[in-house]
């Protein structure tokens, strides 16, 4: 099966082209094409995974471009990580495809939506299969394109336009880091292939500085894609896209690409302490930073978006702390429970037609399925024991502690507390209390939407058991080829993690469930902190006032130079020619004396020139 793994991405690609070509006529039956194609992808991915479970890495390559004697190749590889990611991506994509049939029902551009979903899924699966950096970069950008198109799906909305543009440009800033890092590596290693890079990093062909430099440059790319500080600002805005898109792209798959990239290049990062530390610090900082913003937001999707940024920070922290397994494990569980949360949020938005949590409330009874499903997702992300998020988060905390990042460990613990708090704040505001919206006829979503959520809910619980300290570390053993280091973690870490998450839930319950604590408890006491958080630390404004204005200023300055200086010089030359011409024509006045004089002067000039140059010009 592994030999034909390259077909996996082609199904959704076919869906893309097919729906672009004939989708308009198919109207909403387009959904079946998309669903079928991703189902095939998923099934084939499963087959590949099972094949890989018993086998070893498979790799195939073809010449893609030659530069002199250098041959750049394109191909695919099925490693443990790739096979695992294939299944995660195709599964979430498949579920989102099903869900969208209900959510996008009645949209004018229904088939276009499915076409874009296909393009995105293709790019993401292609990214996962890439055996070398260049190919990864190619799909990396295509993933960005898919995301751009889907964020801007409601293109007639000014906000969607701005969000799509912002997403593309912010990630592109990161991509340039990736681009430079990749090329520098190429000239050092002589190849883009992961294997060659790792070999070079190991045997010292790559100098220590070069390893650190390239690793950090490539990490900048990951920072952009995974919405890490300081390139995170696009991700919350990306919520302008339809909600299924947020679930697929901005929670489960694309944003995880940054984490995946660092994981795929893990041996390179491991070779440099500095790079690892950078990853860990950026991750840890982002986790806390985004969680604090999430505390006060009132748009249901934006809260989830900041929680995504925060969780991605966790993954980076795990990788930076040297735990490859914890990063991938959390990526997996997060993919399931975050997709679940977004889809459930979509179901809520679908019902009440608003995203403002202040205008929701009392939905628990009205939505008997969505409510519990959302709760499961919330419990999972909060790290309540027995749910998947509990195990993966614990793994990260252990990694941070055993790696000696004490400060980062405590940051992660505080973040866990915040996470539990704001997620349950969200839950109580949406489902608890009394109704605050004006929608009369609130009803549960159709089965086509709830079914995928149920599957995800099962996974949000069950996915944790592939790697637990109690029942066995299957995922870890497999991902590391049996070399998984069983850290003997201090037992109190798990206790602390459980305690803080329960504490967070309790506090949220006090404030938003039971209301024995006033809601404006925080905002009234520390108004400045509150408005700082509410305005997301004014980062957008800061970028606008610095980079944004600087670019415009430079452009305007250059445009004046272009119009007046460059054009002015050209005019000056033209004017000089004009004047000398009119001077020349004045000499032709018909007087022989004048002609004689001109001839004589000219001759004299020529003689002088020839004398000076010695007849040799």
């Amino acid at each position: 099966m592994m030999e034909i793994a390259w077909i996996v991405p082609l199904f959704p690609l076919f869906s893309f082209f097919f729906l672009l070509a004939v989708g308009k006529k198919m109207k909403e039956t387009s959904a079946y094409v998309g669903i079928l194609m991703t189902l095939l992808s998923f099934l084939l991915s499963l087959a590949v995974l099972f094949d890989r479970l018993g086998g070893s890495t498979y790799k195939a390559e073809h010449v893609w471009l030659t530069i002199g004697s250098v041959k750049l190749t394109a191909g695919f590889a099925v490693t443990a990580l790739n096979a695992w990611m294939l299944v995660v991506v195709s599964l979430v994509s498949f579920l989102v495809h099903i869900y969208s049939k209900g959510y996008m029902h009645g949209d004018e551009r229904f088939s276009v939506f499915y076409a874009y979903l296909g393009l995105f899924t293709f790019a993401m699966l292609g990214l996962v299969l890439s055996p070398n950096l260049l190919q990864t970069y190619v799909f990396w950008e295509l993933v960005g394109l898919g995301s751009f198109l889907l964020i801007g799906f409601y293109f007639y909305k000014e906000e969607a336009k701005a969000a799509a543009k912002k997403a593309f440009i912010m990630t592109r800033i990161g991509d340039v880091g990736f681009f430079i890092g990749m090329i520098l590596l190429f000239w050092q290693v002589g190849s883009f292939a992961y294997d060659d890079i790792f070999r070079a990093a190991e045997d010292g062909t790559l100098s220590q500085t070069m390893v650190t430099l390239t690793a950090i440059l490539i990490f900048i790319g990951a920072v952009g894609k995974s919405g890490q500080f300081p390139l995170h600002t696009w991700l919350p805005d990306a919520m302008e896209g339809p909600t299924p898109v947020s679930a697929l792209i901005h929670a489960a798959t694309m944003v995880a690409a940054g984490v995946y990239l660092v994981a795929a290049l893990f041996p390179l990062y491991e070779a440099s302490e500095t790079a690892m530390l950078t990853v860990a610090v950026v991750g840890g900082f982002t986790a806390l930073f985004a969680a604090t913003i999430g505390l006060v937001q009132t748009d249901i999707k934006r809260v989830l978006a900041y929680s995504t940024v925060s969780q991605l920070g966790y993954m980076m922290l795990a990788l930076g702390s040297g735990s490859y397994v914890a990063g991938i494990f959390h990526l997996t569980t997060h993919a399931f429970f975050k997709a679940l949360l977004f889809l459930a949020a979509g179901s809520v938005i679908h019902a009440v037609h608003t995203q403002d949590i202040e205008k929701m409330g009392g939905l628990w009874r009205k939505m008997p399925l969505t409510g519990p499903l959302f709760l499961i997702g919330t419990l999972a992300i909060s790290g309540v024991p027995l749910f998947s998020g509990f195990f993966s988060k614990d793994e990260i905390l252990v990694a941070a502690w055993t790696h000696g990042h004490v400060a980062l460990f405590w940051i992660a613990v505080v973040t866990a507390f915040f996470t539990a708090f704001y997620m349950f704040r969200l839950f109580f505001l949406v489902f608890g209390g009394e109704k605050r919206h004006d929608e009369k006829d609130v009803h549960e979503a159709p089965a086509v939407m709830t079914l995928p959520m149920i599957v995800l809910a099962v996974l949000a619980v069950a996915a944790g058991y592939v790697h637990t300290p109690w029942f066995g570390t299957f995922l870890g053993d497999w991902l590391t080829d049996g070399a998984y280091a069983h850290e003997t973690a201090p037992g109190w870490i798990m206790a602390v993690a459980t305690a803080v998450s329960l504490l967070g839930i309790f506090l949220a319950w006090l404030m938003y469930g039971k209301r024995s604590l006033a809601r404006d408890w925080l905002s009234s006491r520390v108004p400045y902190t509150y408005s700082l958080l509410w305005n997301k630390y004014y980062i957008d404004e800061l970028y606008m006032r610095t980079v944004g204005y600087a670019a415009t200023a430079i452009s305007l300055l250059l445009s004046y130079i272009d119009r007046f200086v460059v054009e002015g010089i050209a005019r000056l030359i033209a004017a000089t020619v004009h004047t000398s011409a009119s001077l020349g024509s004045r000499m032709q006045n018909g007087q022989v004396q004048m002609y004689g004089a001109v001839t004589f002067v000219g001759l004299a000039l020529l003689v002088v020139i020839l004398a000076f140059t010695g007849g040799y010009l």
């Binding site: 010449v63 293109f155 007639y156 336009k161 681009f179 430079i180 190429f186 670019a551 415009t552 033209a574």
Partner: protein, 508 residues
Amino acid sequence: MNGTYFLSLLIFSPLLGMILLAFVPKTQERTVKLLGFLSTLPPLLLSLFAFWQYLRGYRLEHLAEKHDWVRFTDFPFLTESTYLVRYELNIDGFSLVMIVLTSLLTTLAAAASIHIKKEWKGYFQLFLLLEIGMLGVFAAGNMILFFIFLEMTLVPMFFLVGKWGGFDRERAAYSYLLYNGLGSAILLIVILVLFARTGTSNLELLNEMLHNPVAQAQLIAPLSEELRLWLFVALFIAFGIKLPIVPFHRWMLRVHVEAPPSIVMLHAGVLLKIGAYGLIRFGIGLFPDQFRHFAFWIAVLGVINLLYGAFLAFVQEEFKMVLAYSSVSHMGIILIGLGALNEAGIQGAIFQAVSHGLIAAFLFLLVSILYERTSTTTIDRLGGLAKVMPLTAGCLLAGAMASLGLPGMSGFISEFTAFLGLFQTKPVVAAIGTLGIIMTAVYMLRAVLNMTFGPSMRNDVQALDMSTIEAIPVFILLVLIVSVGVYPYMLAKPLQAAIEMMMNGLGG
């Protein structure tokens, strides 16, 4: 294909159309347009045939043609071939690729010429003459012939801009003529100095005479290092105007805006590339040492071009101006590649010449379709086009993506290869240049999204999406752009031998 007149036939085949057109009454619009379009097919078919044969292993040297033409001087002590200008044509992989690009874009531009509103007959006559010039430039075997063909593009272009252009067309035509005339004059000086000193203008012979010590001894008059340096600088300026290199770019802005879009397709697609072709063929070919000497500054100029064009494109109000500055910016990538002075760089530069040819033509084809319906290309006066013209808007977005170097499209391959080259030799310059990658995304998305996304600005216009006839050339170009992007080897293969030759000249 063993006829030795193949190249002549290819170059002058548009002449047939010109003659036939002469017999068509000028009022018969449909016939003229159809005939004009059909006349571009013979060179296209011939060049595609040659390309196909070349890919199958045919040796292009067999196509060379040589006929004595004019001999200046008749001194008995000089050999027969001294001061002899031959009519000689020959091509290598590089020229062949440019010829295919030229004939292809000409055909597509002819298809886009259905929007020409007046005097179709004169238009197509000049159009075909222009094609002869362009094809000839790439096949010329000596510098004098090259120059003649180059001038042959100048004259029809002047009238095409000046007569069929937009509001300020005459000024645009004059500035085109003046700048290019100046460039030509400088080029002519270089050619004549070389001709006078060596007695030949044949490229291969010149190459031999300039670099082989034995042959150098036989020169009529030796060329000092200093003179070579100045000749190179002059050559660089001459082609720099054509490319254009900042600050010689003002003329091409006007042409971009004023000339009819179908002509801009050729202008941006092919004519600018003559500058690149000249720099590579004569700059690297004849003066490799000088080129090496200035490589750093060429790369710096490339980065300046890239950023200067990008920043200016960011504040333009007129979409055509955005594209004009984007051309300036993208020509910077050619210089970046050349400044790298390695295989990757040169390959990147040539890739960029081809890729930008396709992308610029694609975008201007869309401009012609758009302008036909909206009568404006001012960005602020458009908006929400995706609603009324989804296909055109989608293609515009695809063009923007190709232009900003999205992988999977040709723009990425050239940008990547050029930067790959420069990072090897001048990493710091290259790193500064990568800022251009971000800026390209910024200005392209700003312009295109403001036109296509957002609330619809034009409810008044009965804008219809592109018709099937219009869509065919659009899709041909799009498919080509994507094909090169997905499988660049198909472009790398025909160029390989030519690039190796150049690398040998550069001394590894």
